[in-house]
C-alpha cells in the first residue's frame, strides 16, 4: 500500500479514570484507570473495509469512537488525510463530521424516539446543506431506496420498525451526508441471524457501489472475515495482529489470533475439537498484564513476554503482528 492512508492512528492512548471514593483518598490508594487503548497504530486505506475484532474490553469500540471524535485521545493522534482531527474546530470540524460517519450498535437507542425517518434525514441534509431545499424530499426517497426501506416508511417513528429496519435507518442517516469513511460499531450484533445477513448484504453492496471506506467493528469473527479486506485483531487495548483477511485467517501470525479462530464455533460439525482453544480468563482492562498483554493465557509465553511489550512488526508480505515469536505461524 503506497498511497497515503485516508485515516491513521498514531500511538493512540485512551484512559478512563475511575472515580476515587473518599475511602480511596483516605487510604491514599493511587488513582486507577481503565486502559482502553494502549498506543494503537493503525492505518485505514481509501476504499477498503478494515475489520476490527476482539473480545470485550479490547478497546475496539473506544477506537471507533476516537475515530469519529466522540472522544479525544489522552495521547497520540488520529489523522484524517494527514490532519490531526483533535485540532479541528468550527467549520473544519463540521466538514470532518460530514466525511466520517458512524452507525451504532443499539437499534433501539440510536434513533431519537420522537423523530420520524423523514425528520431524521431532513435534518442531516439541511444542516449540512447537502441539497437545495426543494430537492430534499427527492433525496430522502433516494436514501430510503438505497437502504431498501419502503418509500412509505418516511413518516413513521422508530418504534414502528423492526431492529433490522432501524439499522437501515441508521445507515441512511450516515449516508445522507455522503461520507468517505463509515464506522460501523457492532452494526448487526443485536439482530437475529437471518436479519444480520440482510444488513451485511446491504453494507457490502453499498460499500462497492459508493466506494466507501469502512471500519467494521465486531466481535463475531465470521462476520469480520466475510466483510473485510483487511483485519485488525485487538486484545486489551492493543492491536495484536493486522493483515489481509485471507492471510490472517489462513495462517495467523499471533497466538491470540490463532486462539480466537479456534474458539469461534465453526458451522462444520466435522471440525470439532475436545480441548478449548484458550485457557484462563480475560484479564480486566483495569489491570492489563505487563509485557505482552496475552502472556497470561498464551501457551507459547516465555520470560521475555512477561516483561517486554512486543511491538507490531512486519510478518509476511502485508501483515504485522505484535509477538516476540517471529516465526509463529510462518509457513514451514
Amino acid at each position: 500500500m503506497s498511497a497515503a492512508p485516508l485515516l491513521s492512528l498514531e500511538d493512540v492512548v485512551v484512559r478512563f479514570p475511575l472515580r476515587r471514593t473518599v475511602m480511596d483518598r483516605l487510604a491514599r490508594r493511587p488513582a486507577r484507570a481503565v486502559h482502553a487503548l494502549n498506543g494503537v497504530r493503525l492505518d485505514l486505506h481509501r476504499g477498503e473495509t478494515l475489520g476490527l475484532v476482539g473480545e470485550s474490553g479490547c478497546g475496539k469500540s473506544t477506537l471507533a469512537r476516537a475515530v469519529v471524535r466522540l472522544l479525544d485521545p489522552d495521547d497520540g493522534r488520529v489523522r484524517f488525510e494527514g490532519q490531526d482531527i483533535a485540532g479541528l474546530v468550527g467549520a473544519a470540524r463540521r466538514g470532518f463530521n460530514k466525511r466520517v460517519q458512524m452507525v451504532f450498535q443499539d437499534p433501539y437507542g440510536s434513533l431519537n424516539p420522537r423523530m420520524t425517518v423523514r425528520q431524521v434525514l431532513h435534518e442531516a441534509l439541511s444542516v449540512h446543506r447537502m441539497r437545495p431545499r426543494a430537492a430534499i424530499p427527492g433525496r430522502i426517497a433516494e436514501l430510503l431506496d438505497l437502504v431498501r426501506l419502503p418509500p412509505d416508511s418516511a413518516d413513521r417513528l422508530p418504534h414502528q420498525f423492526s431492529g433490522g429496519q432501524r439499522q437501515r435507518i441508521g445507515i441512511a442517516r450516515a449516508l445522507a451526508v455522503e461520507p468517505d469513511l463509515l464506522v460501523a460499531d457492532e452494526l448487526v450484533s443485536a439482530l437475529d441471524v437471518s436479519v444480520q445477513a440482510q444488513v451485511v448484504n446491504l453494507l457490502l453492496d453499498l460499500q462497492g457501489r459508493l466506494g466507501l471506506t469502512v471500519l467494521f467493528v465486531a466481535h463475531d469473527l465470521r462476520l469480520v472475515r466475510h466483510i473485510s479486506h483487511r483485519v485488525a485483531v485487538m486484545y486489551l487495548g492493543s492491536v495484536m495482529e493486522v493483515g489481509d483477511t485471507e492471510a490472517l485467517f489462513s495462517a495467523p501470525r499471533h497466538p491470540y489470533t490463532r486462539a480466537l479462530l479456534d474458539a469461534a464455533p465453526d458451522l462444520d460439525p466435522a471440525r470439532r475439537t475436545a480441548v478449548a482453544a484458550a485457557r484462563g480468563e480475560l484479564p480486566s482492562p483495569l489491570a492489563v498484564p505487563s509485557g505482552c498483554p496475552f502472556h497470561t493465557r498464551c501457551p507459547h509465553a516465555f520470560d521475555r513476554c512477561r516483561t517486554e511489550r512486543p511491538v507490531l512488526a512486519p510478518r509476511g508480505p502485508a501483515g504485522r503482528a505484535a509477538c516476540h515469536l517471529e516465526g509463529f505461524g510462518a509457513p514451514a
Partner: protein
C-alpha cells in the same frame, strides 16, 4: 416424531407441548404443539431466532412458566409425565434428576451469598451429605467445572467471579444433584468467544464423564455444530426441522433452516452476498396462517399459505450416501426442492 415414546431412565419424550399466555389481546401461543425425543446421554440443540419459542419450550418441560402461561401436552421423563406430577413430586425431579442453567450469569446467582453457600444449599436439597461431606463435594464440583483453587474460591461472592467463572459456578450448582439431564438456556450467549469455547468444551466433557443428557437452547448455529448430537430448529412456536447435526447442516430440508445456515458467513464466500431471509421473525400475536414461514419463503406456494405442513420423516439425502442417517424430519411441503437448492447463495447476475 410421533413414534413410540422412549421410556428408559434418562430419556425424555415430549408430545404435543403447547404453552399459551393469556393477554389482554387474547391468548398468545408461544409453543404450538412441539414433539421432541432425547435419548439418555444425548445432546440436543434447540435453535431458533427471537420469538421462536425455544426458551419457553425449555422452561415448559419443568413447568417453569409463570401464570398467565398455561402448559398442555405430555413431557415423559423415563415414562413419567412431568406435567401431571404433584408439586412435591416435581420438586424432587427439578434439580435432582433434571437441572437447569440459564443465560444470565450475572443475575442467576444470589449476590449476597458466597458461591460455596449456594452450592451447599443445592447439595443440601439434593443429597443426604453432612456438612463436611457437602464442603468436600463442593470443592470437587468447582474442580470438576474447571475453577482453579476451588477450596479458596468457595468463600468468594459472585461479584468476585468473572462472567465465565460465574457460568462455571452455575453449572457446578446444577451438577450438585447429579442430574441425568441438563437444560441449558443460552448458557454462553453473554460470554466472550474464547470463554464460550471453554464452557462448551466443559459441557461436552461433563456429558462424557457423567453420561447426562443436555438440551442446549441457542440462537447460534455454530454452537450447535460444535456441541450437539442432534438439532431441532424452531420457528414461530413449532419445530420445523430436526435431525442429526452433520446431516442437517450438510443438507437442510426446510427453507427456514436453509436460510438460517446460509445467513452465517462461511470461509470461502468472502464479500459475496449471504443467503439471507427476507423480513423479520413474526411476533407472538401475528403468526401467519398456514406454514408460519411462508411470507419470508422463496419456495412458498398456495399450499403453504393454506395449510401448515406436519413434521414428517424425510428420506436421508445425498449427505448420507452409504451411511445411515435416521431421524430426519421436516415440516415443509417443498423439502425436496429445498434439498436440491443447496446452501450456497447463487451469485447474482449483473443487471
Amino acid at each position: 416424531m410421533t413414534g413410540v415414546a422412549d421410556t428408559r431412565p434418562g430419556a425424555l419424550a415430549v408430545r404435543g407441548l403447547r404453552t399459551v399466555f393469556a393477554s389482554p389481546a387474547g391468548p398468545l401461543t408461544a409453543v404450538d404443539g412441539v414433539d421432541l425425543d432425547l435419548a439418555p446421554g444425548e445432546i440436543l440443540g434447540l435453535v431458533g431466532e427471537s420469538g421462536s419459542g425455544k426458551s419457553v419450550t425449555l422452561r415448559s418441560l419443568l413447568r417453569l412458566v409463570r401464570p398467565p402461561g398455561r402448559i398442555a401436552g405430555e413431557v415423559l421423563w423415563g415414562g413419567r409425565d412431568l406435567l401431571g406430577l404433584r408439586p412435591g413430586e416435581l420438586r424432587r425431579v427439578r434439580g435432582r434428576e433434571i437441572a437447569t442453567v440459564f443465560q444470565e450469569p450475572m443475575t442467576a446467582l444470589n449476590p449476597v451469598l458466597t458461591v460455596g453457600r449456594q452450592i451447599d444449599e443445592s447439595l443440601r436439597a439434593h443429597t443426604g451429605l453432612d456438612a463436611r461431606g457437602r464442603r468436600a463435594r463442593g470443592v470437587d464440583l468447582l474442580d470438576l467445572v474447571g475453577i482453579p483453587a476451588p477450596a479458596t474460591r468457595l468463600a468468594d461472592y459472585p461479584h468476585q467471579f468473572s462472567g465465565g467463572m460465574r457460568q462455571r459456578a452455575m453449572i457446578a450448582i446444577a451438577l450438585a444433584g447429579e442430574p441425568r439431564l441438563l437444560l441449558a438456556d443460552e448458557p454462553t450467549t453473554a460470554l466472550d468467544v474464547t470463554i464460550q469455547d471453554q464452557i462448551l468444551k466443559l459441557i461436552l466433557a461433563l456429558r462424557a464423564r457423567l453420561g447426562m443428557g443436555v438440551i442446549l437452547v441457542t440462537h447460534d448455529l455454530g454452537v450447535v455444530a460444535q456441541s450437539c448430537d442432534r438439532v431441532a430448529v424452531m420457528y414461530a412456536g413449532r419445530i420445523v426441522e430436526t435431525g442429526p447435526v452433520a446431516a442437517l447442516f450438510a443438507e437442510p430440508r426446510h427453507a427456514y433452516t436453509r436460510g438460517l445456515i446460509g445467513s452465517v458467513p462461511r470461509a470461502g464466500g468472502e464479500r459475496r452476498p449471504l443467503l439471507s431471509i427476507d423480513g423479520t421473525p413474526p411476533g407472538l400475536g401475528a403468526r401467519p396462517a398456514g406454514c408460519a414461514f411462508h411470507p419470508r419463503c422463496g419456495f412458498a406456494t398456495d399450499a403453504c399459505r393454506r395449510e401448515a405442513p406436519p413434521l414428517a420423516a424425510v428420506a436421508p439425502g445425498r449427505e448420507a450416501a452409504g451411511r445411515e442417517a435416521p431421524g430426519r424430519e421436516a415440516a415443509c411441503w417443498h423439502h425436496a426442492a429445498v434439498a436440491a437448492a443447496g446452501i450456497e447463495a447463487p451469485v447474482p447476475e449483473p443487471a
